[in-house]
Symmetry: C2
Subunit: 344 residues, 2 copies
C-alpha cells in the first residue's frame, strides 16, 4: 500500500517571498510565527490595541539602496511606523529606533541616516524617545537595518478596523500608486528611470494628519484604512476583503498612476497594483459620507489627488475584481512570491 | 606654516566597539546618533517615559550562536526588553517583535526561535501584540535578527532613575555575574566550557517581578536600577556614577562570580566585571532601607543570591573603584573597544 509523504518543515527554508507582503508572507505568519508567539495574547496585527486607547506598531526597514529619490531608509523608518499607527486611527505619541550597523559602515552614511530620521520625526511631530545600536561584523548585515516602533493614542472620532467594512462602502485612494516601488527598484538597478528629467520619486510621507482630517470629517463612517506598502494595492485590498468578508470592485479607469510610473512598470513588467507605496492610503467609507471624507482628503497635502476607485460588495466575499478600461472584469490577486525584495 | 589637520568623519567608519556598550558606544551615541535624531524630543535612554506613566524600550538582538545553554535569541529578545522596562520601575504591558530573516534560513530554526519568544513572553506574563517580518537575500543578514520593543506602566511605589543616586547609597547586586557572556562566547567558539559537566549557562531571565518586590519593600528608597548587559557591571556602574555624579566603591570580596565562570574568564583573559549579564540587576538604595530591599530580593527566585557589593560616595564623582581582595584600590573602568561582539 502506498503511503502519502508526511509534509515536513525540516527541509523547508525561508524564501524571499516570505517577506513580500503577499501570499507567502500570510502563510508564514499563519503557519509558523503566530503559532509560536501568538499564544500569549491574540493575533499579531500591523498595529495593535494595548489597553483601551493605546496603539502599538513595529516595522523593520531593510531597503536597498539606502538613499533614493524622494527619501531614504531613515524617512521610511519614521513614515512607515507613523502610517501603521494612523491606519488604526491612532495619532503617534512616541517612536523608538533600533539600529543594526555593519562594521565598516562609513560614519558619514550613518550620520545621513540618523539626521534623516530626526528630520522626518520632527516633521511628523513625533519624538524619538528611545533607541538601541548594535554593531555586527562585516558581512553579517548589509550596511544598516532600522526597526522603528511607535505608540499612539486612538482618535476620539473613530477606530477603523480591517474587519469593519460593509457592502456598499466606497473605496477611496489618497493619491497615485506605484511610485515608491519603481523608484527604489530603478535606483537599485541603476536603470535611471528616476533621473532628474522624470518625476519618478518615492511617495514616502506621513499620513497621520490626512487620517485625522478624514476622521474629523467622517468619524465612524470611516470603516477601514490601510496603507498599501509591500504587495501594493492589490494585496492590501485582498487582505481587507478577507478580513471583512466582502467583495471589492475596482474601476481601472479611476486608479491613478503617474505617467512616469506607468512607463517604468511597463518596461519592468510590473503591475502597478502590486507595487509598494509608502505614502498612500486606502479607505473604506460609508457611501453616505464618502463625498465629505473625499473632500477632507483633498484639503490635505497628502490627499490632494484623492479619488474614489471602487466599492465593497456583498458578492464573492474575499474576492477583489477590477473593471478594466475595456469593460471586462479581471481578478486582482494577492502578490504571489516576491516581486521586489527589500523595497522598504 | 603648519596647519593642523581638521578632524574629519568622512573617512571614519563604524567599528565593532561602537556596539560594545562601552566607551565607543557612548561616543557614537553622543556624537552621531543623538545630534541626528535627538532634536525631536530629548535624550535617548534605554527606557523612556512617554507621558506620565508609560515607559517604552527597544533592543535589537543579534546574538551568535542563536542557541546556547540557558537560552537562545528568542528568550534574550523577551527578557532584554522586559528588563529594560523594569530598570525604570515599569511593569510590561505589551511587546512587539520584528524579525529580519535571511533567505534560506531553515523554517525549523525560525519555528524554534518564535516558539521560544512565545514561551518566554507567556512566562513573563506579557503579550506579544504586534510584529513584522522581513526577508533579505542570502548574505544580507546572518540568519535572524530580532528587535523587540516593550511598553510598560510605571510602578506606583517608585520610579528609579540613573540620575537619582545619593552618596551613601548601598549598592546591591541580584546574583552572580558574568555567566551570559562567557557562555555565549564559549558556545560560539566551541570551547566546551559550557558542557554538561560544568554549571555554565546564561543567566537570561526576566527581572520585572524582582523589581516589583524591591519597589514594594523599598518604594522611593530604591534610587536607581540597572541591568548590567553589554559592557558588564563595570560599564553599568560607570554610567550610573556619571549620571548621578557620585563615586562608587565596590568590595571585590563581595562580588559573586560562580567558579565555572571565574575559571572560564581566567582562561579567556576576561574580567568578569566587563562580561555581559542578562538576568542580573544592580540597585542603589538608601542605606536605611537596604536590608529590607535585600531581604525582598532574596525572597524572589531571580534574587535569591542577592548581595550588598559596595556603596556610593561623595568623593571623585563619576569614578568607580574597587577594594581588591588584597586591600588595594583599583579603578574600575568602562569597557573600551569590543570585548565580546554579538553577545546579545
Amino acid at each position: 500500500m502506498m503511503t502519502c509523504p508526511v509534509p515536513s518543515t525540516e527541509t523547508e527554508r525561508v524564501l524571499l517571498g516570505h517577506g513580500s507582503g503577499g501570499q507567502l508572507s500570510a502563510r508564514l505568519l499563519a503557519e509558523v510565527i503566530l503559532p509560536g508567539v501568538g499564544g500569549a495574547g491574540g493575533p499579531l496585527e500591523d498595529a495593535a490595541l494595548v489597553g483601551t486607547d493605546l496603539v502599538m506598531s513595529t516595522d523593520s526597514f531593510v531597503v536597498d539602496p539606502l538613499f533614493f529619490p524622494g527619501g531614504d531608509i531613515g524617512t521610511l523608518a519614521v513614515h512607515g511606523t507613523v502610517n501603521d499607527l494612523a491606519m488604526r486611527g491612532a495619532m503617534p505619541l512616541a517612536l523608538s529606533v533600533a539600529l543594526v550597523l555593519e562594521e565598516g559602515l562609513p560614519l558619514e552614511t550613518l550620520r545621513r541616516v540618523v539626521t534623516s530620521i530626526g528630520r522626518a520625526a520632527r516633521d511628523a511631530g513625533v519624538p524619538v524617545v528611545t533607541g538601541d545600536t548594535k554593531v555586527v561584523g562585516h558581512g553579517a548585515v548589509d550596511r544598516v537595518f532600522i526597526t522603528t516602533t511607535g505608540v499612539g493614542r486612538t482618535h476620539p472620532d473613530g477606530c477603523p478596523s480591517a474587519a469593519a467594512i460593509r457592502p456598499g462602502d466606497a473605496v477611496l485612494l489618497s493619491g497615485p500608486i506605484g511610485a515608491h516601488g519603481v523608484t527604489v527598484l530603478s535606483a537599485r538597478a541603476g536603470l535611471g528611470f528616476e533621473s532628474d528629467d522624470t518625476d519618478l520619486a518615492s511617495d514616502t510621507q506621513p499620513l497621520h494628519r490626512l487620517v485625522a482630517a478624514m476622521l474629523e470629517a467622517g468619524g465612524p463612517a470611516v470603516h477601514a484604512l490601510r496603507d498599501p506598502t509591500r504587495g501594493g494595492v492589490a494585496s492590501a485590498l485582498n487582505e481587507l476583503a478577507a478580513a471583512s468578508q466582502v467583495g471589492v470592485t475596482l474601476e481601472e479607469a479611476a486608479v491613478p498612476v503617474r505617467p512616469a510610473v506607468a512607463a517604468a512598470c511597463e518596461m519592468l513588467g510590473l503591475d502597478a497594483l502590486h507595487v509598494a507605496n509608502e505614502g498612500c492610503c486606502l479607505a473604506f467609507v460609508d457611501p453616505a459620507h464618502a463625498d465629505e471624507v473625499l473632500a477632507a482628503m483633498r484639503a490635505e497635502p497628502a490627499g490632494r489627488d484623492a479619488v474614489r476607485v471602487g466599492e465593497a460588495t456583498g458578492v464573492r466575499p474575499g474576492r477583489v475584481t477590477m473593471r478594466t478600461l475595456l469593460g471586462a472584469h479581471r481578478i486582482v490577486d494577492m502578490l504571489v512570491g516576491e516581486q521586489l525584495p527589500r523595497i522598504c
